[in-house]
Symmetry: C2
Subunit: 354 residues, 2 copies
Amino acid sequence: MTPSSPSAARFLDACFGRAVDRPPVWMMRQAGRYLPEYREVRRDVSFLHLCRSPDLAAEVSLQPFRRFQPDGVIFFSDILVPIAAMGAKVEFGDAGPHLPEPLRSASDVVRLQRFDPSEAVAFTGEILRTIAREVGGRAAVLGFCGAPWTLASYLVEGGGSRSFAVIKEMAARDPQTLERLLSLLADVAADVLSYQIASGAQAVQLFDTWAGELDAEEYRRWALPAVSRAIAGIRRGPAGAPVIVYINGCGHLVEAMAESGADVLSIDWRLPLSVARRRAPRLALQGNLDPAHLLGTPERVAQRTAAMLAETGGEAHVANLGHGILPGSRLECVTAFFDAVRAPARIGAGAIPA
Amino acid sequence: MTPSSPSAARFLDACFGRAVDRPPVWMMRQAGRYLPEYREVRRDVSFLHLCRSPDLAAEVSLQPFRRFQPDGVIFFSDILVPIAAMGAKVEFGDAGPHLPEPLRSASDVVRLQRFDPSEAVAFTGEILRTIAREVGGRAAVLGFCGAPWTLASYLVEGGGSRSFAVIKEMAARDPQTLERLLSLLADVAADVLSYQIASGAQAVQLFDTWAGELDAEEYRRWALPAVSRAIAGIRRGPAGAPVIVYINGCGHLVEAMAESGADVLSIDWRLPLSVARRRAPRLALQGNLDPAHLLGTPERVAQRTAAMLAETGGEAHVANLGHGILPGSRLECVTAFFDAVRAPARIGAGAIPA
């Protein structure tokens, strides 16, 4: 898994804070509905079927690679795939995922099982091996998993939530059950990510999307120990696959996130990266263009992307969006985003000699 | 409207940063479903009917006052009431408000009208006059309105949203339409709040709940000028009704919020008030207990409320939640919250002489 080409090496070097020619770049949820070729595949198959079909899932993972040549290629899947493998019922509808039997008590936790990813989700390994073969070092292959707090939120709330009232009530009134659940999910995340690394993932991202709902004290009590346990549990090989942690709305949590053991903090669009850098000076950063800009104009995307790069000077920075790309994103804006990272000289006054 | 009792005076003094015996306290959305007496009233009438019935609306506004004696009594209404008065169709369902004909173009804006609150929403004035009479200075009477960005989000998105993709796309691709809409909404908010103040409101709050989705640059471009215009437009009488501005997820916006002309910044639960104070040292603060704590235990509520008060030392601080109270909140936790603000000596080691 040693990177054999500039792109994969650039990605890994940036994650570890080593010098690079320019920041690597990819987009969260880059295999998705904004791409006509993705919608074409999805016309004939359900979301879950797509996740579980290695050839199709590898194909949609590679679609953005062929179109935009990002420096990272994430495999197509869903953060609830491991939840389903644990034995929870998961339904994917148009309004997002729904868990018809939400977890509410200790006995519900007991019914969930840790599993061997090479058996229960062998299709994910197959997708990653196919991508690694096709990409051939021209980009880093990326694995991912939901972080324990975010997976627990889905399980306990039964889907998305505005207030996270049910899991917060459990935290206050039945802490043992929530602790048991988070420990189990941390072990599952470690198992899943270790298997992904063994299957070809060169870096992995833990999505703790919803941990930003917690204040720093509650984050340190619940989400942080669980994500730290997951990271510690990853069998990090000699190549040391870097671990990226993402939280949406992480502005109040940067210092705490930095204690998770992650190599890279993935920052949402609201926190300037220069502020994140000051508060977590020893770690690489990922992010953080507001994905909504990709609904706008290429000119503005170029401008805001250049401003984002100026926040870090391009050092120890994996250029990305601050959240997943939105379905209505315009292809010319996506191109402008990649171009702005790859050819900053073309932006603004770059043609004027210094 | 000069405050004639300690409670109303305490509220206004804290808003202006004057010395108080203890911080005043109330709760956002304190007239609501967590109260059995509210559910009793709501059993027989629809939400909209309740908003428009002065006697019933005054009654539910006073319910939390009778039970908990907060220092502020906010009148019962909904932030979409002015939107409906402008001529937009608004439906209130169990899943939140829905606007079946979302605003998408300049011609949609033209169809919305500024209105005279003393005619179109005269019921709000009647509610406020009733409350002012009943409360008789034993608490400050509070008015409120949605801030322009948040009202525009409802109008353009057609209801709640996760990504705010439609309004952000409008900002990028049709800025003139959005500017016109925000100006109109700023004038409407000023009209509405001026009428509320004339009807007995002693302080008013602008809810810019969703402005936290914007990064600081976009906030300064869109939401801040509009809320500033609304505040400047309020006919602030000799008593100078203080203006409170609330944003959910305001951590990255405190400095900008402080430039709005508001007297009080209402901070969500994620940002420690000591940090907010450092970043906006000249303004009073409101907040900021995580409302989810009221689903938990009274002991923990007392502990976290004491910690919140320690963040400001009780100076220039209106104690409140960091967001609206949740429907499943426990009455014993609400009592613990009010008690912890009113009688801090009873908490922890307060009985030990200094």
